[in-house]
Structures are given as structure tokens and as C-alpha cells.
């Protein structure tokens, strides 16, 4: 074999304080399917965006087919035979397939000849690779599976020898995914090199020749797929972190305070994000929902808390129904004792340009204790904020400071203090420690357990397996919008990792 298709040497990239890629070196042999696996935020997409010229690395070198390549823009990457299928399709929704395929590769100023040329070329590609799609169909009329096919055709039309696919099956049904894998194997047979980014182990095992594991911006291992196991990969992916075990008394669960029944949620495009989910959370227990990000957890939380509408199903709060299919008001739910620490702290949980004390009442700003008639009781609000700052050790201890100027951990404490100090019966928590430093993580975990010990029902969604395992009394695993399994707190990482990756165990049914 001559040169490797791609060789990365010491790629390093930071966004502000986030170190997205740490000194990554990787060789991808030509004519293979190479998987890159890792949790969300592990840096996979950043690495591939650097390869495709969307970002430039701070340090490091890229070699394509043995040649050192300066890839400063996507057009450089395209010229070197690199094509990419993005996670969010880069298609023009109201263009035809043909128009999307030729965009940027028209060849000449007039479309007539380039369209005719593209049509015959597209015919050939369709035949060779089994990529049938009507060239005159409008993109938005096509199902996502076919839209993805258009993305692949786009890359091939540009003569891509190396094809990067970023989470290609995230939006596909299992049958569509299987079809995709057949296409990928066909492409490999034709001599193309394929890089497959995913967090699903099943896919890695199904189609790849080699697999690299990324964790927290670093590349931690590369294996031949045939010589590794799902268990090993799951462990490498999650990492053997120091377990931050929290002291917990044995669970003494009481009445059901939150009850979810057959909840189905669709997004604005009509894609089913939550698919017939049912579960209960009792007083005095923490129920953790594990899963890789993007499997419906966000939609589940937003629906339960009244921010998003459900397509069908029902939710009961302390036995009384919540109007999840229309008309639910988050403010009303707060009054009924449901508090919510949202996943998206920056845009939802906080208003970053606000002063700290203003954020300390967000959602509770209609309570009498913060108001004097229609006016805000500024003194009461600030006094209240100062007390929470003290109690939750929020730093700097300045309730007039702009919220954007607090660190991630302290911002999260602002949200937590607001939601917990309302003494809710049900606490809904999403990604409580994302972007939070270690000291604050411990603090937040202790507080959550305290809430449980006080007899509150806590629903915890997290992509951090450690967190789920150390806090939960029961663990539900969510995959592709469904609850695919329930485990006790003693479940092993490997076991949960498999469920999270969509590999259904024999005893997986809840």
C-alpha cells in the first residue's frame, strides 16, 4: 500500500477556553472505513471540520495521500478529494436534487450544459453505488434518508476519494441506516476511504475496519475493529474516571409525584424525538436518564416542564394532569411545585446580560415576595439573591454583577439555588454539571442528594455516566427517543454503555 489516505500530526485546536482537540495524531489507510467514536463534546466533529477546512487548527499538520496539505477552506479540501456529509445537512431546502449536487461545482457560467452533464453523471453514480434518488425532486419533499443520499452524491460528484460522515445515522431509521452501511461498503469496494464519526458502537462494529476513540478532546486509542470488543470500546469511550461517589442513605421512595405515560414528542419537522415514553418518579428518589445526547432527552425534559408541546401522551404532577399536549404553562407548573434546571443554561436557564439577582428570580418573578404591586421589590430581590449567594457559595459574591461574568460552575449554582430554594416537590434537572469545574460538581451532587433525602422526586438527565451512576436510585437508558432499559444503581458502565449505544441486551426490556 502506498500512502495513507490521511495523516494528521499533532492537531491542536481551542475555542476560547475550550480545548476541543489536544495534540491529535491519526493515520487513516486508503481504502478503509475508519470509525471515530466518542461521547458528545469529545472533539470528533471539530477534528473533521478542521480536515474539511471549516476551521483551521492552531497547531499541527495534515497530509493527504502523502502530501502535506494546507487546507484553509472547504474548497481546498474539495480540491484534495475530501468530501463531507455534515450532521446537519448542508442542502438548500427549496432546490432540486440536481441543483444541490452541482452547487459550487457547476463548471461553467451557464447551467444548461452543467445540468445536463450532472444528470448523466448522477445516473452513473446512482447505478454504481445504489444511490437512487429522483434528480428533479425538491429537497424538502424528500425523507431525511434520501436527503443524506444527496449529500453523499454531492461529495462523489466532486470526485471525493475520502468521504467523512458526521453522525450519519442520527436521523435515520434502522432500515435506512442498514442501507447506508451497504452503500458505504460498496464505496469501499470502489477504493474510497471513509471516515465515520459516530457515538453508536453497533455501527462501528458493523462496518469499520479500524476505530479510533476520542475522549475530552484527545485521541485515546486506535484499534482494529476485528480485534476489539464492544465492551472495550465502551470503556475507552467513557473512560475510567475517578468516581465521585456521593454518600447516600438507602432509598426510601414514597408516593409517585411525577408520572409520564406514553409521551410522544415530535420536532418542528415532524421527526419523532420522544417515542411513547412512560415512567414514574417517586418522592425521595433520584431517577437518572442515561443516554448519548440527542436521543430525545432534551425534548422529554422540555415537554414535561411545559416548554414544548407533546404530540400525545400524558404527564401527571402529584396525581394531577399536566396539559402537555397544549396549554401547559411553565409558570403554572412552578406554582404546582415543579422546578426545572434546564440543560441549556446559557440561553434558557439564564439571561446572561442580566444582573445575578435578576436571574435569581427568573420564572419566579411573579411571586408576591419579589413584588410590590406591579413593581419589582428590588431590596427583597437583592436580599434574597445575597442569601442564596451565601448559602450556595456563589463567587464572586456580588449580586449586581452581570451573569455572563460568572464561571460556568457559578452560573449553574445560580440556577440551582433559584430552583432548589423554592422548595419544589419535583425537581427536573438536565446536565447539571456540564461545563462545571470539579469543586462545583461535588457541591451540586451533594445538593441533589439532599433534595432526595428531603423527600423530593428528582428526575436527572445527564450524558455523564458517572454522574448518573453515583446519584441515581434507578437508571433509565434512553436511545433514539425510547426508554430501552432500566437498571439499578449498581449497573456497570459497560452494561449501560451498550444500552446507550443501542445494542439491546437480552434483559434490556424495562
Amino acid at each position: 500500500m502506498a500512502h495513507a489516505a490521511i495523516e494528521l500530526k499533532g492537531i491542536d485546536k481551542s475555542f476560547g477556553s475550550v480545548h476541543a482537540n489536544r495534540n491529535i495524531s491519526l493515520t487513516i489507510p486508503a481504502g478503509t472505513i475508519h470509525g471515530i467514536i466518542g461521547e458528545n463534546g469529545a472533539g470528533k466533529s471539530t477534528l473533521m471540520s478542521i480536515l474539511y477546512g471549516f476551521y483551521q487548527a492552531d497547531r499541527g499538520e495534515i497530509f493527504v495521500k502523502g502530501e502535506r496539505a494546507a487546507i484553509l477552506s472547504s474548497s481546498d479540501a474539495i480540491a484534495r478529494g475530501i468530501g463531507m456529509v455534515h450532521q446537519h445537512f448542508m442542502l438548500v431546502h427549496n432546490f432540486t436534487v440536481l441543483e444541490n449536487v452541482i452547487l459550487g461545482a457547476e463548471g461553467e457560467p451557464l447551467l444548461k450544459t452543467s445540468i445536463a452533464k450532472a444528470r448523466s453523471e448522477l445516473n452513473r453514480l446512482e447505478r454504481d453505488y445504489g444511490l437512487e434518488v429522483d434528480p428533479d425532486a425538491i429537497i424538502e419533499d424528500l425523507p431525511v434518508g434520501l436527503q443524506q443520499r444527496v449529500e453523499i452524491l454531492k461529495a462523489l460528484y466532486r470526485g471525493a476519494e475520502i468521504l467523512i460522515l458526521d453522525e450519519p445515522t442520527g436521523v435515520l431509521t434502522p432500515a435506512e441506516a442498514d442501507h447506508l452501511f451497504r452503500i458505504l461498503l460498496q464505496l469501499k469496494k470502489e477504493g474510497k476511504t471513509i471516515v465515520l464519526i459516530t457515538h453508536k458502537l453497533r455501527e462501528i462494529m458493523a462496518v469499520t475496519d479500524n476505530v479510533s476513540v476520542m475522549r475530552q478532546g484527545a485521541l485515546v486509542a486506535t484499534r482494529k475493529t476485528a480485534e476489539t470488543t464492544v465492551e472495550e470500546l465502551a470503556e475507552l469511550m467513557v473512560g475510567r474516571r475517578v468516581l465521585l461517589r456521593v454518600e447516600k442513605s438507602p432509598v426510601s421512595a414514597g408516593d409517585v409525584l411525577l408520572s409520564v405515560r406514553n409521551l410522544t414528542v415530535r420536532d418542528s419537522r415532524g421527526v419523532t424525538m420522544v417515542d411513547g415514553v412512560s415512567f414514574d418518579v417517586r418522592a425521595g428518589e433520584i431517577v437518572g436518564i442515561a443516554g448519548v445526547a440527542g436521543n430525545g432527552q432534551t425534548e422529554l425534559l422540555e415537554t414535561i416542564t411545559g416548554i414544548r408541546e407533546a404530540a400525545s401522551g400524558s404527564v401527571f404532577l402529584a396525581g394531577r394532569p399536566v396539559a402537555v399536549t397544549g396549554g401547559a404553562d411553565p409558570a403554572d407548573l412552578r406554582e404546582r411545585g415543579m422546578a426545572h434546571v434546564p440543560e441549556d443554561r446559557h440561553h434558557m436557564g439564564l439571561v446572561l446580560p442580566f444582573e445575578e439577582n435578576e436571574n435569581a428570580i427568573l420564572g419566579y418573578h411573579r411571586q408576591k415576595k419579589y413584588l410590590k404591586g406591579p413593581f419589582l421589590d428590588i431590596d427583597a430581590i437583592r436580599q434574597d439573591a445575597r442569601e442564596k449567594i451565601e448559602k450556595y457559595d456563589i463567587r464572586p459574591a456580588d449580586c449586581r454583577l452581570k451573569t455572563a461574568n460568572f464561571s460556568g460552575g457559578n452560573q449553574q449554582k445560580i440556577v440551582l439555588s433559584r430552583e432548589m430554594e423554592q422548595d419544589p416537590d419535583v425537581l427536573i434537572v438536565g446536565q447539571p454539571t456540564r461545563g462545571v469545574d470539579v469543586g462545583a460538581i461535588e457541591f451540586i451532587h451533594r445538593r441533589l442528594v439532599e433534595m432526595r433525602d428531603k423527600g423530593k422526586a428528582v428526575l436527572l438527565v445527564s450524558v455523564e455516566l458517572d454522574e448518573i451512576r453515583s446519584l441515581s436510585d434507578r437508571i433509565l437508558v434512553m436511545f433514539s427517543g425510547r426508554i430501552v432499559g432500566e437498571r439499578g444503581p449498581d449497573a456497570t458502565e459497560g452494561e449501560l454503555g451498550l444500552l446507550m449505544a443501542g445494542v439491546e441486551g437480552k434483559e434490556a426490556a424495562a
Binding site: 475555542f15 431546502h93 452541482i102 459550487g104 461553467e108 447551467l111
Partner: protein, 323 residues
């Protein structure tokens, strides 16, 4: 025959009144289709009209006037581009600013240079883009109906009127039959798709706003050198906004833009014609109602009561690579 004469006369003024609307609306079409909203059509048209009037007055050449108009209008469109493409500023704010800068400076400079209360000197026919007689127009004028339509309605307009109507199929052709048009439409819907295809989003949008500048320059020229004999203070009188309304009304498509401009032009011509005369069945229609009708129709359309006007998806949003 009386009725027919009236009709031809009415349609003739419809055409005349539609031309500046059409040029300006097509101008806006290029910019907005590329994802850059432009409420500064009015200002660019006004500045163009002034430049045309001033340059034609000084040099005595209509063509120099036309070039000056296009140059000034182009400059303002580049300011809009600089603010909204390069600096990712608010496109509405930038458009408002350009309208004011044009409104103020045309008066100030006009007064300073020509001292006629903001007017430019009255132009002689040589310095104007006057009516063109189409071949045989005289000869067939007496042929009933067809001859009259040919000589009165089709013939006898400024070269820019013909350019404006030819711009309709041309714009359609550019938009749907050329590489530039394909990319222009794409960048207005999904700039990320254009970016990942290896095309510069900024340069593409700059070219689009430059097209806008050229066409608003022509619209201004028509006002100053064809419809009138020189620049008059505030001579656009809201036409830039009617053009914007026509563009929305036509849902950003070239051929419907022409019909929308003809409709709005007709309403204008009609309201001038019927001033004071009651209409059958309806009675007296206030002239102000006729003047407001284009705006009312546009609001009704925007409200979604007669079909939806869906703007280009990326319109108004500066392009930032997502992190």
C-alpha cells in the same frame, strides 16, 4: 372610441409610473434573494436621481448622468454591504441610515451646488433620456386599436423603460439559468451550504448588493432624466418602499414582480385619472385610499390572508460560521 382612448392613456401612464418601481423592485430582488434585506432602496434611488440630475446638468450629457447615478447608488449599496456583510450589523438599521443620508445630502448638495432650493437645473432635451419612437410608430398610428396600442402604448418611452421591462426576463434568466443565480438563491436560503461547497458567502453577497446598486441607480436616472427634466427634492416620494412592497407582494420572483409593479403603477395612474369622479357601484373613492392601497395589500399579504409571503430563509441574518 372614447373609452378606448381613455384606456390606452391609462395604461400608458401605468407603464410610465411602473418603470421606477420595477427597476427598484428588481434591484431589491437581487439583494434580498442573497439574504441581505434592503429597506434602503428609497435612499439609493434618491441619491441616484440626484447624481443623474446633477451630472447631466453639469455635463449636458444624459449618459454621464446615468453613469454618475449608478456610481453613487453602487457606493451606497457597498456601504450597506460593508455594514451588514463585513461587520454583520443590523440590516434594517443600515438601510434606515442610508435612506436618511441620501435624503439629507441630496438636498444639501443640491442647494450648495445649484442654489435652486434643492432642485438641479432644468435639463434640455439633449441631456435627458427622452422618448424613443419605435419604427413605423407614426405610420401605423391611425390603424385602429392595434396601431394605437403600438404607437401610443408600446412606443414613445424612455430607453430605461424598455431596459426595465427587459430586465424582467433577464433577471429570471440570471436567477434560474446561470451559475451566479443558482449560488445567489442558495446563499439566501442556506449560506452554510454555499460555504461548505467552497464558495465565499461574503463575496457572493457583495456581488448581489452591487446588482442592487446598479439597478437602483437606473431607477433614479429614470426619475430624473426621463420622467422629469432634472432632480427635484425628495422626488422618490416613497417609491422605494412601494417597490419593496411589490417585491414582497411578488414573493421575491421576477415575473410576478413585474405584475405587482404594474398593478401598483396602475393604481397610481387610476387614482390620478379618477380624481373626483365617482365610480359605478362604489361611488366616490378617496384618492388617499388609492394611494394607500399598495401598502394595505402588502400588509394583508404579510398577514397570510392571501397566500404566504415567505422571505428567503437566511434573509436578515448575518452569516456566522457555527461553532
Amino acid at each position: 372610441m372614447q373609452l378606448f382612448d381613455t384606456l390606452v392613456f391609462l395604461l400608458d401612464s401605468t407603464v410610465r409610473l411602473s418603470v421606477p418601481l420595477l427597476l427598484a423592485a428588481l434591484a431589491g430582488l437581487y439583494s434580498e434573494r442573497s439574504g441581505v434585506f434592503d429597506i434602503g432602496l428609497e435612499g439609493k434611488m434618491l441619491a441616484g436621481a440626484f447624481a443623474a440630475g446633477a451630472a447631466a446638468a453639469v455635463t449636458g450629457s444624459a449618459w454621464v448622468g446615468l453613469i454618475a447615478a449608478v456610481a453613487i447608488s453602487l457606493l451606497l449599496s457597498l456601504v450597506h454591504g460593508f455594514a451588514s456583510i463585513t461587520h454583520r450589523g443590523n440590516q434594517i438599521v443600515s438601510g434606515v441610515a442610508i435612506n436618511f443620508i441620501a435624503a439629507g445630502s441630496t438636498i444639501i448638495l443640491g442647494q450648495a451646488w445649484f442654489s435652486q432650493g434643492g432642485r438641479t437645473p432644468l435639463l434640455s432635451d439633449d441631456a435627458r433620456l427622452g422618448a424613443i419612437r419605435l419604427p413605423f410608430a407614426e405610420a401605423v398610428a391611425d390603424v385602429p386599436i392595434i396601431g394605437q396600442i403600438y404607437s401610443d402604448l408600446l412606443s414613445g418611452h424612455s430607453i430605461l423603460a424598455y431596459v426595465a421591462f427587459l430586465m424582467v426576463p433577464f433577471t429570471w434568466w440570471v436567477l434560474f439559468r446561470t451559475r451566479f443565480g443558482l449560488r445567489l438563491r442558495a446563499v439566501g436560503e442556506n449560506p452554510a451550504a454555499v460555504d461548505t461547497a467552497g464558495i465565499s458567502v461574503a463575496w457572493l453577497r457583495y456581488r448581489a448588493v452591487m446588482c442592487t446598486g446598479i439597478l437602483t441607480g437606473l431607477a433614479g436616472t429614470y426619475l430624473a432624466l426621463s420622467q422629469n427634466a432634472g432632480f427635484v427634492k425628495d422626488m422618490t416620494a416613497g417609491r422605494g418602499f412601494i417597490a419593496l412592497a411589490a417585491l414582497i407582494f411578488a414573493k421575491w420572483r421576477p415575473v410576478p414582480v413585474m405584475f405587482a409593479c404594474l398593478l401598483f403603477g396602475f393604481l397610481d395612474a387610476f387614482s390620478i385619472r379618477i380624481q373626483g369622479t365617482p365610480l359605478p357601484f362604489i361611488g366616490q373613492v378617496p384618492v388617499q385610499f388609492m394611494q394607500a392601497l399598495p401598502y394595505i395589500l402588502t400588509v394583508v399579504l404579510l398577514a397570510g390572508f392571501i397566500g404566504q409571503a415567505i422571505p428567503p430563509r437566511a434573509g436578515g441574518v448575518p452569516y456566522v460560521k457555527e461553532r
